[in-house]
């Protein structure tokens, strides 16, 4: 074997047990630190920073959710915005019909988006490669058309949502939302981590490499892909559920925004799709860059930077930040 070949990430040995619990601990610690920081800083930081943090965290959840199917299983979902919007509109409907705490709205949003994920998966997962991706894009468009024509949720005009009063602990509703999003991000990353280390993750990796060979090795590919679409969809729906309270005005163009679908793909690709921390790194990197550019240059530069970074990473570092770090670690040994 040449030295160069040895430095590729594929040659890694399976992570030892101690490494596994270490990464689990890392998720918890980072999450706890984030929560503490949010609570302690409280009113000392401006509202804008909360809004920016919320957006980045939302993309941590969306990128992580996308990666369960797209990164582990190799099925590219272009319909993230559709699942996200299902979450948004579940909240809007529930808010109008049976007001309840946001936590329950999130659970129902997860269930709804999960069911839609399962259904989409069942109908489309026999399609491979690009055909599956087109079908997910079509799903988002169909859903958007439905919402646009549904006047109960505001139709194309959109709908205003009034934030509930906040009590006790929190200085503002936005602070509450950020804390909630930190919790959801930890939950999503923990789910992805558990999937990655379990038989589901191993089976999905086999499907990504070669679906026919996976089948003949006993991997029930349809079942695994359905599990992945359901979990991925549910997490995206959960990410969308608090969104109406965050923006207080939702219209279909916002909920089904192209930026959501593009970011959910770009962030895992930039961070690295092979591991749970790739999408997290990608979301923080791209999310922060977008926030900074929006403030310093213009909001139009927002998607521009995504495009540039995507091109740079796909050509220079196709395995994302994860691949760079792994190569660097190996080089030092």
């Amino acid at each position: 074997m040449s030295r160069q070949a040895l430095s590729t990430p594929e040659l890694r040995k399976p992570a030892p047990i101690s490494g596994r619990s270490r990464s689990g601990l890392a998720i918890m610690l980072i999450g706890a630190a984030l929560l503490a920081a949010t609570m302690l800083l409280g009113s000392h930081i401006g509202e804008y920073y909360y809004l920016a943090t919320y957006t980045i965290l939302q993309f941590v959840v969306l990128g992580t959710a996308w990666n369960i199917l797209g990164g582990y299983g190799g099925y590219v979902n272009f319909g993230t915005a559709g699942f996200f919007a299902i979450g948004c509109y579940t909240t809007i409907v529930l808010n109008k019909m049976f007001p309840m705490p946001l936590f329950f709205e999130m659970l129902i949003a997860a269930a709804t988006a999960g069911v839609v994920g399962f259904g989409t998966g069942y109908l489309t997962l026999r399609l491979r490669g690009v055909f599956f991706s087109i079908a997910t894009l079509a799903l988002a468009i169909v859903l958007q058309t439905l919402i646009v024509n549904w006047s109960f949720v505001g139709g194309a005009r959109g709908v205003y949502v009034i934030r509930p009063a906040i009590s006790g602990f929190f200085v503002s509703y936005v602070q509450f939302l950020v804390v909630l999003m930190v919790g959801l991000a930890i939950f999503a990353v923990a789910v992805a981590w558990a999937v990655e280390k379990s038989w589901i993750g191993i089976g999905l990796a086999a499907i990504r490499d070669d679906e026919a060979a996976a089948e003949t090795s006993g991997v029930p590919s349809l079942r695994l892909k359905l599990i992945a679409t359901t979990m991925s969809g549910a997490l995206m729906g959960m990410a969308g559920a608090p969104f109406p309270y965050y923006v207080t005005y939702v219209d279909p163009a916002t909920a089904f925004s192209l930026a959501i679908a593009v970011n959910a793909i770009a962030m895992p690709l930039v961070g690295g799709t092979a591991t749970w921390w790739g999408p997290v790194v990608g979301a923080i990197l791209l999310g922060s860059a977008q926030q900074i550019l929006t403030v310093t240059i213009s909001s139009a530069a927002n998607l521009f930077i995504v495009g540039v970074l995507l091109v740079v990473f796909v050509t220079v570092a196709p395995r994302g930040v994860v691949g760079i770090v792994r190569g660097w670690k190996r080089g030092r040994k």
């Binding site: 590729t8 040659l11 089976g203 060979a213 089948e215």
Partner: protein, 240 residues
Amino acid sequence: MIAKILEATGVTKRFDGFAALTSVDLTLLKGERVGLIGPNGSGKSTFVNCLTGILAPDDGSIIFDGNDITKTPAWLRARRGLARTYQIPRPFRGMTVQENIEVPLRFAVGHTSAGTISEAAQVILDQVGLGEKADLSPKGLTQVELRKLELGRALAAQPKVLIADEVMAGLSESEVDEILALLNRLNAEGISILLIEHIMRAVMLFAQRIVVIVAGSKIADGLPDEVMQQEDVERAYLGE
């Protein structure tokens, strides 16, 4: 009377009007070694794909170990003990050699403990002569090693029947002998083997019986020497 382990009856497959297979029958007895031969494009691989569930036949039935598996998905056939290799090696390229072997151990055999899986994988890697390569990527393997990996992955599923689809194509004579020795060892352990092969020397050495498919139809089925003397077989292989 030895029991049949695999029995395909009237297997027919059409691609947009092109008849790739026309009512092909094949029986494999327990512990038997059968060679399946035929010119390029005669439908051998299509037949294997129908047997293993990668393609659904348009007509016909497949009985495996006493059960009708005609409609059974590929992964379930693998779990029940019908394993195959691919003509063009199809390793899981994102995994190490050992992780490749671990996939069927986990999914086809149903092991759950990482320790058991790892030990069983090493046994199989030693068996196919890849013990030293366990931690490498399949990208670093030679052609013969890739074919051994295909065999190893099929073996890891603990098959009752192994369908070896051109595992020897492009190998040197000594490499062919190496693979043949391995297949003979497996057969001695009780695995029935269907060998699809172009290298006639290997087929004649290995098979107890030979089946010939030409243009999607079976034209001969019998003892190797007798089949090879049949006029239509000669014609199919050597021309008029």
